[in-house]
Structures are given as structure tokens and as C-alpha cells.
Symmetry: C2
Subunit: 517 residues, 2 copies
């Protein structure tokens, strides 16, 4: 494919469009009765178990999607990413979050230099620093050992660490390692400061000892930074480096799988291709992420960021406007919350492809009085039941056989034919959490590679920022010098004026300073 050809102009894309009718005329109920098909749509890797048999797809669809991957030069693009080429071309940067979790002896080149030693230099520094803090060798201003860590996130880079921190709440090793320690991830300022930055010179100017600064690099985007010092430092202070190292190893295991497994057995590739199928061919604009574990409650918000900021683009990487829509609307809650919230719509309203994420071993299954299964089996009963409920639905005929009152038949009918996939993790150990993260990061990359967009820039956040700076100037001028609101449209002028008027008792001068924490 010539670099300026859009993917939708290729033959495999057209073949998939032509194939749509075959799928639209087949109910998932029927597809699910084909055992060979179901068998071929399951996959195990490194104790993960993936079942994608409830996608509205046949083996023929998968073959055609693999041809689409060829047309999009997916293999070459993945290789370019791992080779440190500047695939984020609009910002002229490599995309190397995989280097952040590469083993010490791995070689990942960026501009002819192996970046892995640099990564490990920072990791070693974090290991050493967090050990000193955790053993009490490092003390605070009052001479006491430090047990509370506040990670001051900038922008979206706190969502990843927040997800991992929350996810580790049930892992026995993590719990034990974190005893007596607190980690908070607010956007605030702290008194005892160390820094994580791409700009160590600026950090020094700011008054922080370079010894207490931890580098990361411009080849790590904010939304891909959880495996950099941004995430690893606070997590290491809280859980100790050995736990965090397991997290990195889990992610690295998926990195290797992603870069080397044949596409038909490659979890992130298959998930990415199926998402393209759901979005661009079946026309489903959203995806629900439904972990059956409260500890994964911050997973959906993090993936919302990873996915929507990466793939919410309107032009190809070469700048050609896309004649199709890229990117999904990602949202989700743990299943236990979601079931009482938006599952109604998912079952009887719009079709929303669902990711069900289950965990085999929970920390401590307990039996509640009068229940035949423990609380984890209870949770998992829902994890196993919902995908079939979505796929099969329930017909009027079935309801008639159950003697449901005539006037309720159509209200209790479920159309079914709603796609989902199920991913079963062995546990929520740090290793498994790392795997989960990397699967989703790479799935998003696969989608972007297929759509032919740049999943690693984010120009779409610029305009709001620049307009906000105009408003900021106006608020300052109006509060300080009573200048009238000018240069905005009628609506904004009206609302700004109302706002200034209603809040006019706010001091115009920076006399109120931030209180000490």
C-alpha cells in the first residue's frame, strides 16, 4: 500500500464490506452452535485465557481481517515501533513504552543507541531510593521515616498509576509489602518533593536536587507512562521494587508475545482487528470495559484515556481526512456496578461490544450465610452468564413457553446477537496486572495501525488550551483592572460577565496563597 493510500481504499477492506451481509444475516445464537468455530476462537497465553467466540464473526471474517492487517502493513508497523523508529511522525518521536519494561539484557534502539541501559539506570535508582525510603534510611525534614507518599500527577499521567495502585489492593504480596504505608494520587502539591521529569535541568532550577530526580524520555507519551518513573516510582515506594518489577515483567511478557506471535494467535492483534471490525464495519461506536473485580475499578478510566486520546483522530498519519470514523467511545465500570447501571441499555438498547474481564483467584473467597457459593463464585457466575445473555437473548416464543403475560412479552424479549469477548486472568498479581495493561495498550496501537492514523500524538487538546489562555487573560484583566469582557462571542461574553459579577468578592490579587499541606 502506498503511504498515502487510505486503508478503506484497499481490496481487503472492500472484501470485508462485502462480507458484512453474511454476518448480518447470521444470529450469534447460530454461530455459537458451531463447536469448531468456537474452538478456533479461543486462545491461551501465559495463563491468560481469551474467548472471542461471541464476536459477530466467522473464521472467514478472521481470515479477511488478517488480510486487512497485511494491507495495512501491520507487521512492519509493529516492528518499526519496537525498533525505535520515529513512528509518531507529527511529533517526530519514537514510541518506546515497551522499552520501559524490557529485560535488562534486551536491546531496543533509538537513533542508534540502545535505550535499555538508560531505562535500567532509572529503575535501579528507583529501586535504591525506594528501598532507602522504605527501610527508613531516608528520613524527612523532621528526622522521621516516611510512610505517606503523595504522587502529584500532571495531566492524564496519574490515571495509569491510579489504575495499578487500585488493582494491587487484593494481591497478598502487595498488601504485605504496603503495610503501614499510604499512597495518594491527587493533583496537588507536596512538601517533601522528588521529581519525575523529561527535563532534569528545569527540575534543578525548580530547586530539587538532581539526585532526587528521576528521568523519563520524550519517547514516552503521558498516557503510556505508567511503566516509566511516573508510575514506577510511587508504586515502588508503596509496594517495594520487587512487586513493581513483577508488574513490568507481566507487561514485558505481552510485549514479546505481541512482537513475535503469529497474528492468528496474537492476543493484542486479534483484539485490535476485532475492534476495527466492530467499529468500522458493524458500525458500533462504543466499547464497554467490564472487569468483574472491584480492584479493577480504575481500569476503564485509564483505558478510556489510552484509547480515546490515541485513536480519536480525524486524519490519517499522512494528514488525509478519513472518510470513516476511527476510535471508539470507551467506558466501563466493574460489572457489579455496571449491572445495576447501564446493562439495561446494553441488553435491550443500543448494541455495545463488551469486554468481560474475569479473575480466577480472588484474595479470600468467603461464604455469606445462606449462599451456596462463595462471594467470588457469585461474582463469576455473572461474568460467565452475561456474555451468553447478550449473545443468545430471549425470544417471544421462549417467554410464551414460560407463561409470561402477553402484555409483558415484548418488554421481556431480548434480541441477543450482541458481541462480547471474555478474558480470564489467573489472579490480580502484579504480573497479571502488567499483562492486562500491555494487552490494551497494544490493542489500541493495532487499531491505529490498521486505520492508518497516528495513535501517539494529541493535537486535539491544543485548541481548548489556547482558547483557555484567552479566557484566563480576560479574567485577570477584569478582576484586577475592571476591564470589560471583550473579544468573545455574545454567548461567552454573557456568561463570562455573569460569572465575574457573581464571583466579584473573589480577591483580585494573589494575596491568598496556597496553604501549607
Amino acid at each position: 500500500m502506498a503511504s498515502s493510500t487510505l486503508i478503506c481504499e484497499t481490496q481487503p477492506w472492500k472484501d470485508l464490506k462485502a462480507h458484512l451481509d453474511d454476518i448480518k444475516n447470521t444470529h450469534l445464537r447460530n454461530l455459537m452452535s458451531d463447536t469448531d468455530r468456537c474452538k478456533s476462537m479461543m486462545l491461551e497465553f501465559d495463563n491468560l485465557f481469551l474467548d472471542y467466540s461471541r464476536q459477530c464473526a466467522t473464521t472467514d471474517t478472521i481470515d479477511k481481517l488478517l488480510k486487512l492487517a497485511e494491507a495495512a502493513r501491520l507487521k512492519e508497523k509493529i516492528t518499526s515501533m519496537f525498533n525505535g523508529e520515529r513512528i509518531n511522525s507529527t511529533e517526530n518521536r519514537p514510541v518506546l513504552h515497551v522499552a520501559l519494561r524490557a529485560s535488562r539484557d534486551a536491546v531496543i534502539q533509538s537513533d542508534g543507541t540502545n535505550v535499555v541501559p538508560e531505562v535500567w539506570k532509572v529503575l535501579d535508582k528507583i529501586r535504591d531510593f525506594s528501598e532507602r525510603v522504605r527501610t527508613g534510611a531516608w528520613v524527612g525534614a523532621t528526622g522521621k521515616a516516611l510512610t505517606n507518599v503523595i504522587a502529584v500527577g500532571i495531566g492524564g499521567s496519574f490515571l495509569g498509576p491510579l489504575f495499578v495502585h487500585t488493582a494491587l489492593q487484593t494481591d497478598a504480596e502487595a498488601i504485605e509489602s504496603a503495610a503501614g504505608r499510604n499512597l495518594r494520587l491527587p493533583e496537588a502539591v507536596a512538601k517533601h518533593m522528588v521529581a519525575v521529569s523529561t527535563n532534569l535541568t528545569l527540575v534543578e532550577k525548580f530547586g530539587i536536587d538532581p539526585e532526587n530526580a528521576f528521568a523519563f524520555w520524550d519517547w514516552v507519551g503521558g498516557r503510556y507512562s505508567v511503566c516509566s518513573a511516573v508510575g514506577v516510582l510511587p508504586l515502588s515506594l508503596q509496594y517495594g521494587f520487587p512487586v513493581v518489577e513483577k508488574f513490568l515483567k507481566g507487561a514485558s511478557s505481552i510485549d514479546q508475545h505481541f512482537s513475535s506471535a503469529p497474528f492468528e494467535k496474537n492476543i493484542p492483534v486479534l483484539l485490535g482487528l476485532l475492534s476495527v471490525w466492530n467499529v468500522s464495519f458493524l458500525g458500533y461506536p462504543a466499547r464497554a470495559i467490564l472487569p468483574y473485580s472491584q480492584a479493577l475499578e480504575k481500569f476503564a478510566p485509564h483505558i478510556q484515556q489510552v484509547s480515546m486520546e490515541s485513536n480519536g483522530k480525524g486524519v490519517s498519519i499522512e494528514g488525509v481526512p478519513l472518510p470513516f470514523e476511527a476510535g471508539e467511545i470507551d467506558f466501563g465500570e466493574p460489572g457489579t456496578n455496571g449491572q445495576h447501571s447501564f446493562y439495561q441499555l446494553i441488553h435491550q438498547g443500543r448494541v455495545i461490544p463488551c469486554d468481560f474481564i474475569g479473575v480466577v483467584k480472588s484474595q479470600q473467597p468467603v461464604y455469606l450465610k445462606g449462599e451456596v457459593v462463595n462471594n467470588h463464585d457469585e461474582l463469576m457466575s455473572n461474568f460467565f452468564a452475561q456474555p451468553d445473555a447478550l449473545a443468545y437473548g430471549k425470544t417471544a416464543e421462549q417467554l410464551l413457553n414460560e407463561n409470561v403475560a402477553q402484555h409483558l412479552i415484548s418488554h421481556k424479549t431480548f434480541s441477543g446477537n450482541r458481541p462480547s469477548l471474555s478474558l480470564l486472568l489467573p489472579s490480580l498479581s502484579a504480573y497479571n496486572v502488567g499483562q492486562l495493561l500491555a494487552i490494551y495498550e497494544h490493542r489500541v496501537a493495532v487499531e491505529g495501525f490498521i486505520w492508518g492514523i497516528n495513535s501517539f500524538d494529541q493535537w486535539g487538546v491544543e485548541l481548548g488550551k489556547s482558547l483557555a489562555s484567552q479566557v484566563r487573560k480576560q479574567l485577570h484583566a477584569s478582576r484586577k483592572k475592571k476591564e470589560p469582557v471583550e473579544g468573545f462571542n455574545f454567548s461567552t461574553t454573557t456568561m463570562l460577565t455573569k460569572y465575574l459579577e457573581a464571583s466579584k468578592d473573589v480577591p483580585a490579587d494573589p494575596s491568598t496563597h496556597l496553604p501549607n499541606m
Copy 2:
């Protein structure tokens, strides 16, 4: 309109369809230059300020939507709701959450009985109970006054109280009233128990003194229960009844506005009609809820539930399958989080109508070193800027004038023409939080009334539940009696077998009991 006529068969619906082209050919940039239009699309009520001028709509669109409201008999339906008629016809129940916040002297009939005295009987009991607890007159088992309250939510009914509890974190009166007290809203069990239930007989059987049981009624759905004892009791224990009463009064103020204001000046009606316009005519499947306040971080998850469970339906209230899609996908985060997460997609990817929610007065605005505006003005700069960024976008021509490099022009172009609305609250007092809740509750009802669906049932959650009970039986039989997995399809059988095998060290008997808290 005859009761079995679908709304899409009426003339006003067809007129709106015909009107689509006028709108699709007009950029919001142009619509915004018409001052008279903008002026007519702003509305003030009870210190709330609504600006809907950035909807892709003209005054003509609004007129046509008001005709659609007539065709849908919106006025009659609202009246029926307030009159306690059994408008939740599939469950044969009235829908009377408005009675929960009616003033003591109001009269709201259900089956010929005024329910307001019953409501106030419970509210008085809550007031009395929470006063006794808060003054220390009521003590726990160890003779100490109680300061920690754990509200054990069932299903989705904890999302509402969680939203309100979080929202009150910056209100001075709420802060002062809650000093030294903790409220947690997990799904767990507690030791010192009082109960909130529709079934007081069962509560007594369970061993709870009826004196400590607080009633609510089958005319309150779980997702509309935050103003019942479900929400009012824990909030009252935490903040005292006077604060909670203000919350109820704020909601009640909107109830009265909703039931009496002419539609063209009626906030929930206008918002509901505009949502129908966005969803059913412009074809936008989602809505982003973007409060510019961290204290409103639980608002979107709550509204996700209220909206998606209410309107995610596939048949009309009479049971006729809908030839159009009802219900939006609702999602959102506070703007500060969202800006670094999904705003990229909102600006340059899919069109998602946005609700911007701002607050005039923050608790304690502070100036950070080197900033010309305080932190609240900084936040609000974004609140004012984003809607214009979405509406106007940025053209290639503008970028050329700014000397942007040619190869970045299309990446930095913003199409604009993306609808939003802005709602400005005077503060986050309990009263304002009550207003906000009621506006969204009624907006969802308006959408459902127009679409002709039953927004108050939730049959779509039943199928998953019944399939889960099959899985539960299987897990029990397999763990306890080693019975093989039977009666499921190949995929589910395979995954269930893997799960049982991988977790076989879980005790088969209820020997592990729930530890005391």
C-alpha cells in the same frame, strides 16, 4: 396521538427529519454569530444559568421540537407523573420520586391517598434519629457515641448517595456539620445496623428493631432513590438533617419548575428535547457529562445509571419495537481529568454532544505562585473555552496565517460544529446539588416521554440474572459434588471448566465464614 402510534410516525417528527438538511448545511460558527438566536437560547432560573446556544439548532428547530413535545403529549405525561398515576405500566407502579422532596404541605396523590405525610413521617424519623446519633444521645454497643457510618448499598442505589456525598465535600456548611464524622458507601455488611427498606416486615424478621427501620415505597425506583431514606438517612447522619433538607429543597424547586414552567422556559424539558434532537435526528449516540469540579466526580456515573437504565429500551411503552434507537451512551469525568483523556476524540474524532457544568463560587480560591488567576478561575477558563473550541474549531486557513508547518496543517485542523451546552451553578451548596440532580432526572424522563418508552422499568437486567443463577448452581454442584459442567454451550463449558480447574483449591463448603468487621 393514539396510544399505539409511535412518535416517529407523527408529522412533527417528519418535519424535524425534513429540517435536518437546513441544520447540516449550517456551521455552528455561523449560528453563533446571530446574537438574537444566542440570546433566545439562554435561560436563568433560581440562580442557575443555562446556555444552549451551541446546540446545532436554530429557533426554528426549537419550535419544531416543541411541536414534537405536543405530539408526544409531554405535558399530559408530566402531569400524570406528578399526579401519581401508574405510568410505570409494565410494573403497574406510580413514579413519585418528586414526592420525596415535596414540601410538608404539598399534596401528591397515589391511589387516592396523599403520600406526602408518609414521606414526612420518615423524614421526621430520620431527622430525629440522626440528631440523636449526632448529639451522642444514641450510643453503640460499647456505650460510645457513633461517628462512623457505613451505608450498605444494594444494586445501583448507592451511586446516588455517593454522588451527593462527594459533591458536598466543598460546601462550607456541609464540611462544618460533618467534622469528625465518616461516611463510607461500600457494598459490605456492618455491625450496628439500621435498615432502609420497602419491606418492613422482612426487616423485622431479619432481627432489626422496626424502630430502626426507615421505609421507602415501591413507587421509588432504585436509580431514583437518592432522595428517599436510601440516600437521606446516611447523608443526614453525616451532615445533619438541615443540610439534607436544603438538598431536598433544591430538588423540589426544580420539580416545581419542571411541572409548571412553560416548555420554552423549562430547563429539563429543553434539555430533554435537545437530547432527542441530538440522538434521534443528528444521530449522535453518546453524551459526555463534564463537570468542572472535582467534587462532582461521581455525578457522571450516577447519571449514567439514571439515563442508561431508564432509556436503554428497545420497545415502546405499549410494547411496539422501536424503529429508532432510544437512549444515549452517557459517560464523563470532571473536565480536568477528561481534558487529558478523551477530549482528543471529542475535538477531532467522533462528534459527542457535551454538557459543561461549571460552578461560580468555589470553596477557597487560592493563587499559585506565578499564576495571574486563582485556581478556580484557571479551572473556569477551561469551562468557558472548551465549548467555543468545539463549536468554532480551527480552519486550515487560520493555521496558515499562524505559519504552521504545511505537514502539520491537517493534524492541527479542528472541524468544529460540535454541539455542547453550558450550565452554570452558583455554588456547590446542598441546595444547588439538589437542583442539579433533579434537572438530570427530569431530562431523562422528558426523553423517555418523547420516545414513548417506559423510563421506569428495567426488564433488561433480568436475563443476565437468571443465567447467572444457572451458573451458580453449576459452580456449587461442581465444587461440592464434582459434577461435570453441563447444559451450557461449548465456549461457556470450556471456560467454566478452566475456571473450576484453576480454582480447585477453593473450599467446597461454607466453612470460611465472613469475618467480623
